[in-house]
């Protein structure tokens, strides 16, 4: 059984149930999945459960048939790379330093020439080479987000989880970042999940959609199916209509009903 799979996940925060009986079918390597759903639907919680930063109250997650609960935290985070949503860094650390830190993953004091080369190339490819010497505290929201994505992509993992990687970016950078993520997933044959608010971006980039609402997985499947399902209007509480754009892509229109 290859891929990432979850069954009957439950999680509650004190008396408040965040996720119940949430599960998804096998997500395949090389594919990008978009996790969509309204605010407080449990997207970040689902990511934290997959990454192992929180323990589910019920259910389990398997990766290529191996139960992730059997791994140590360290080993698990090596296979699953998680980019948290908020990047509130106020530190006097340079962009080069923080990407190096992600690359080294807490191993060893020494930084080799190869390490430096890798980081330099990653920054250059991410289009943030000119920021390499800037302190992360001096970056704008969008720049921080691009650094965050670079930090995630420099790690070699089997699963990549991005919690809203494009929320602070302008149009062009949204497209660039998602293209880069998608290409990386394909090239590395890794499983990628991106939490997105923008359904148009989800429709454009994702191979697979998971719709989360009130702690449950409401719909799952190819973008076409999920976006055209009735559930989407119900979950978001808006009237959703789908048309086809000029390049055979799906366009999502939402109207307050």
């Amino acid at each position: 059984m290859s891929g990432l799979q979850a069954q009957g996940l439950g999680f509650s925060y004190g008396p408040k149930t965040v996720l119940q009986n949430a599960g998804f079918h096998s997500l395949r390597p090389g594919h990008l999945t978009a996790l969509i759903g309204p605010n407080a639907a449990g997207k970040s919680t689902l990511f934290r459960l997959i990454a192992g930063l929180s323990r589910p109250t019920s259910g389990g997650i398997t990766l290529n048939g191996c139960d992730l609960a059997n791994l140590t935290n360290r080993a698990r985070l090596k296979r699953i790379c998680f980019m948290p949503q908020f990047f509130a860094a106020n530190a006097a650390l340079s962009v080069f330093d923080v990407v190096m830190m992600a690359h080294k993953q807490l191993r060893g004091w020494r930084v080799s020439d190869a390490d430096m080369q890798t980081v330099g190339q990653a920054l250059s490819q991410a289009g943030i080479g000119h920021l390499a010497q800037a302190y992360v505290s001096d970056l704008s929201g969008g720049q921080s987000q691009m650094v965050s994505v670079a930090q995630a992509l420099i790690r070699e993992s089997d699963v990549y989880l991005f919690d809203e990687p494009t929320s602070a970016l302008d149009l062009r950078h949204q497209l660039e970042v998602l293209t880069r993520i998608k290409q990386a997933m394909r090239a590395r044959q890794a499983i990628g999940i991106v939490a997105l608010h923008d359904l148009n971006l989800a429709a454009r980039f994702a191979d697979h959609l998971i719709l989360l609402g009130q702690g449950r997985i409401v719909a799952e499947g190819p973008p076409e199916t999920v976006l055209r399902s009735k559930a989407i209007s119900e979950i978001y509480g808006v009237d959703v209509q789908i048309t086809t754009g000029p390049r055979e892509d799906l366009l999502v229109h939402a109207y307050a009903s």
Binding site: A51, L53, N73, R74, L77, K78, C81, F82, M83, P84, F86, F87, A88, A89, N90, A91, A92, L93, S94, F96, D97, V98, M101, A102, K104, Q105, L106, R107, W109, V111, D113, M116, Q117, V119, G120, Q121, L123, S124, Q125, G127, I128, G129, H130, A132, Q133, Y135, V136, S137, D138
Partner: protein, 358 residues
């Protein structure tokens, strides 16, 4: 971004070059600071009556066998312990301040502002005025032992407080200030009932002084530094990661609460030992790390050694100043560090580099 180059390989090479230069600069700064520090130690030794020359003193320190009996007493018995005490205590406070600021995510944290120093003063007062020993069986060291015990208890309390949910960095400092006032009030109680002789001792303690330095104490300080500093160094990636935010550090595989706990234990040990030997020396743990941060940023591989060196430089300079201001009088060092530290503290609050700590 506009500056994207056409050859990504060339840009990457440029970036690596710039990074290497920064790294070399960092090493250069640490070596430079260490050299300045050794000069200050020699200066500290020659400051005061006896007209020692710099070169001769340097030789005697490097090669004790050439010392005349007079030099033997003045340099090796009287002044060098004090000078080295200043260095080690300064380094301990610098490291303690740096890591307190890192793990509590708080720019104003240092052993003094979090109340550890006043706790230690109170512990010492218990011993001096009431003759109570918190730790049994320590004999003549009971003043120091009391100070140490109370500083450790206070940092445990602080740690328990950080475990409460929803405690902001500002609240932490307020708790520290509450501790400071509590212990000062308790101290006032003791002072009220103290005899004149005890009062004189107490004041001496509160002001912070290097006068009670000895080779044994210097040795203890070195030993503590030799244990704690390598541990902090080994956790430097994790500590750097923590500055990116708890969530991010956790996603990189840092066990955040374990790291906080172990580093706080190390920090408590450092500051409790320092404070119990020299009394309440304010602001060294605050100013030292901030200077280091301004110079090299917060990558722990540069930040940690430079914080230790800055703390040591400040204490060493203060030790010289305490003897040089009025010839023949040695002022308590705590007074001087406060006078230097307070304007700095205010500047910091006014937000010189505020955006690093929003």
């Amino acid at each position: 971004m506009v500056e994207q180059t056409i050859f990504p390989g060339a840009e990457a090479a440029e970036l690596v070059k710039a990074y290497k230069q920064r790294h070399l600069r960092r090493i250069g700064l640490v070596i430079g600071a260490a050299m300045v520090l050794s000069c200050l130690v020699v200066l500290d030794v020659i400051t005061g009556p006896a007209n020692l020359s710099f070169a001769r003193t340097f030789q005697v320190i490097l090669d004790p066998s050439i010392a005349s009996p007079k030099e033997q007493v003045i340099i090796w018995k009287l002044r060098l312990p004090v000078a080295l005490m200043a260095v080690t205590v300064g380094a301990m406070l610098g490291v303690a301040g740096a890591e307190m600021q890192t793990i509590l995510n708080n720019p104003l944290a240092d052993p003094f502002t979090l109340g550890l120093s006043s706790a230690a003063s109170f512990g010492a007062a218990l011993a001096i005025v009431l003759g109570w020993s918190v730790v049994p069986g320590v004999g003549g060291l009971f003043v120091t032992a009391n100070a140490f015990a109370l500083a450790m208890i206070t940092s445990c309390l602080l740690f328990l407080f950080t475990r409460l949910r929803g405690v902001t960095p500002e609240a932490m400092i307020l708790v520290g200030i509450a501790m400071l006032f509590t212990f000062n009030a308790l101290l006032a109680f003791l002072q009220y009932g103290a005899s004149e002789l005890q009062l004189a001792q107490l004041i001496f303690w509160q002001l912070g002084s290097l006068a009670r330095a000895s080779w044994v104490k210097v040795g203890v300080c070195f030993a503590v530094l030799a244990v704690v500093l390598p541990y902090f160094m080994s956790r430097s990636w994790a500590l750097t990661a923590l500055r990116m935010g708890e969530e991010k550090a956790a996603a990189l595989g840092v066990n955040v609460s374990l790291l906080r706990m172990s580093v706080l234990a190390g920090v408590s040990l450092l500051s409790a030992v320092a404070v119990s030997f020299v009394g309440a020396v304010a602001f060294v743990g605050l100013v030292g790390p901030h200077i280091a941060r301004m110079i090299v940023g917060e990558d722990q591989r540069g930040f940690l050694p430079l914080s230790a060196l800055c703390g040591a430089l400040i204490m060493s300079g203060t030790s010289i100043a305490s003897k040089a201001i009025t010839p023949g009088i040695v002022y308590p060092v705590g007074m001087i560090t406060s006078l230097i530290g307070i304007p700095f503290f205010v500047l910091l609050i006014l937000g010189q580099r505020k955006r690093h700590w929003q």
